[in-house]
């Protein structure tokens, strides 16, 4: 299968602080690919590089067999959509207006929409189940509703790849599942490649084809959820004790972090690797 994204020897530093070190990986076309790792492991930076927002990296990234720097901004926006972390700040645009913004890379400078743009926006609204919100203002929506509107906007872009930065953070359970289901359906029905950064390992394990585990800007492991979500991998990366069991739905690994008081009762050290880093 052809790769959608190929990253080779990615390095990135903010001043003296190195964020990514020699990171290489591939994302296959039509794959649901989730990047997990502790805070500060370089996940968000990686996503910004893939989105073409941060261009001060070394190494190479290819999107759909073409080097990323060879894309103009508009070209890139037609192949790749980004759903950034949900910001608290909003402006009173209507849901319709926000969706049509997703058509910006396909429209002229003034963003005057055609019938086709409207049709695509309507389809995207139905697909994400926000049609009933179309005339509401963004600042009147709940966080979960807004996140679905942003997903709909990304769908409007008609991209080959969608990047999402912790799309389920700060959402309630129902909205978390909705967002993940939507992405799964998008992959299923339209063949879109999904690259997601997530903190929720259990959720990620249920949806991802493959997981990549990052720590300190390097790849700890990459592979199927079963291969990646092992207690050795997680404890080594996150530095806390976890239990890994089977998800009651079957087939998926599920982790349970272990509270300190259980460890003291068992007489073991809280830190799984007291000697190392």
């Amino acid at each position: 299968m052809t790769p959608a994204v190929v990253a080779r020897n990615l390095r990135h530093a903010y001043g003296a602080e190195t964020v990514l070190r020699d990171l290489s990986f591939e994302v296959r076309k039509g794959e649901f690919f989730i990047i997990i790792g502790p805070n500060g492991s370089g996940k968000t930076t990686l996503l910004k590089i893939l989105a073409g927002i941060d261009r001060s990296f070394r190494g190479s990234v290819a999107l759909l067999q073409r080097p990323l720097p060879s894309y103009s901004r508009r070209e890139l926006a037609r192949s790749l959509a980004l759903v950034p972390q949900l910001a608290a700040e909003t402006f009173p645009f209507s849901v319709w207006e926000v969706l049509l913004m997703g058509r910006a890379p396909h429209m002229g400078l003034l963003g005057l929409e055609s019938q086709k743009d409207r049709r695509i926006a309507e389809q995207a609204m139905r697909f994400t189940g926000v049609s009933h919100l179309s005339h509401r203002r963004l600042d009147q929506l709940s966080g979960g509703e807004r996140q679905r509107v942003y997903l709909a906007r990304a769908v409007c872009q008609e991209p080959a790849v969608i990047l999402l930065d912790e799309p389920t953070a700060a959402l309630d359970l129902a909205h978390q599942i909705r967002v993940m289901d939507l992405m799964a359906r998008l992959r299923e029905e339209k063949g879109v490649t999904i690259v997601m950064v997530s903190h929720d390992i259990n959720l990620a394990a249920m949806y991802a084809d493959r997981l990549m585990l990052l720590k300190d800007g390097t790849r700890v492991a990459i592979g199927s959820p079963r291969e990646i979500v092992t207690y050795q991998n997680i404890e080594r990366t996150y530095g806390c004790r976890v239990l890994v069991g089977a998800n009651p739905l079957g087939g998926y690994p599920q982790i349970t972090p272990v509270p300190g008081r259980f460890l003291q009762a068992a007489g073991g050290p809280a830190d799984p690797d007291p000697g190392g880093k």
């Binding site: 645009f93 963003g111 309507e122």
Partner: protein
């Protein structure tokens, strides 16, 4: 099935026509009233060049009031559009050329030009532009290391630069002893009284491309409001758009400051009022601010001419006296 919003162009028309009508009405009244009151009928006569209109009236209307009304419209449109653009770029409803010190910087430049005995154009305009660009650069540098448009630091830097500019202005004034002093002070309060058609035409020539640029980038401003990263991911070259808009706005602000001095609050009040009425779409707001700002300034200038029993007020006094309370009211309405 939701029909969606009306197409942008139709909304634009629906908004622009009433505003245009308001502007024409205000301009008509502006031509009709003044220190030497002549009443509406005389205006018709002068406008239509009827025989019964005497020469003095014709001269007053065409030579004195018309350029003044046009100048007021140009200045009001510029200040209000400038406020809108800055508020979009900084994603901050309090941003305005006046508050960010851009106007103050142009004023320092302009006064230096006046003191050096330069002509209003190109001399004073050029020094005003230099002053505004210098303050813009200073504000941007002060407020950032990496991120150009961080909100609060930029405003804070603007306030400081503005304070510094005020001190510079007072310093320059205190150095001045001769008759230029009165000129400078009246100009500082915002002055439209010394206008001729030549200046009006020249300013229109300078402003038109800036207005056009702002309209062409209005959709990009919408996208910028959704956040820097989102805008980039939607294909906006935000560095280019931001720099173009900052420079064009500073240029048109300094061009008007060089002509008419400091006129506060227009850039705050009009964009706020229109956003409250029309929503956040800049493709609508840019033309609306141009027309609305023009109307507001023509109206203020009219008041400045007819309120005092003798002589007239500097129009800057009127814009601030109406604008400041109105702005506070709008702030409370929008709940921010």
């Amino acid at each position: 099935m939701s029909p969606g919003p009306q197409p942008v162009l139709r909304r634009l028309l629906l908004v622009s026509l009433p505003l245009l009508l308001a502007l024409l009405t205000a301009s008509f009244l502006g031509l009709g009233f003044g220190v030497t009151g002549s009443g509406l009928r005389a205006i018709w006569e002068a406008l239509l060049a009827l025989d019964s209109a005497n020469l003095v009236q014709q001269t007053i209307v065409w030579r004195i009031r018309l350029p003044r009304v046009l100048m007021a419209a140009e200045v009001g449109a510029t200040l209000s559009l400038g406020g809108l653009v800055f508020q979009a770029l900084l994603r901050n409803p309090l941003a305005e050329p006046y508050i960010l010190g851009i106007s103050g910087g142009s004023a320092v430049g302009a006064i230096s030009g006046i003191l050096l005995g330069l002509s209003r154009f190109p001399g004073v305009s050029a020094t005003a532009f230099a002053g505004s660009m210098a303050t813009l650069a200073l504000v941007v540098v002060l407020s950032s290391g990496r991120q150009i448009l961080k909100k609060d630091t930029l405003l804070l830097a603007g306030v400081m630069v503005n304070a510094f500019c005020s001190a510079m202005i007072l310093f320059l004034i205190s150095l001045t002893q001769d008759s230029r002093l009165h000129n400078i002070i009246f100009w500082l309060m915002g002055d439209l009284s010394l206008t001729d058609m030549g200046q009006v035409r020249l300013l229109a020539l300078l402003l038109a491309p800036c207005f056009l640029l702002a309209f062409l980038l209005s959709h990009a401003m919408n996208l910028l409001l959704m956040g820097k990263e989102t805008a980039m991911a939607l294909g906006v070259n935000i560095k280019l758009v931001t720099m173009t808009l900052l420079v064009a706005t500073s240029f048109m602000i300094s061009a008007t400051v060089a002509q008419c001095g400091l006129l506060g609050f227009v850039g705050l009040v009009m964009p706020h009022l229109l956003r409250l009425l029309l929503g956040p779409d800049h493709r609508i707001l840019v033309p609306a601010c141009i027309l609305g700002g023009a109307t507001y300034m023509v109206g203020c200038d009219l008041l400045a001419r007819i309120v005092p029993r003798h002589g007239e007020l500097p129009v800057g006094v009127i814009t601030a006296m109406i604008g400041a309370p109105l702005f506070i009211f709008l702030l409370r309405r929008s709940g921010r």
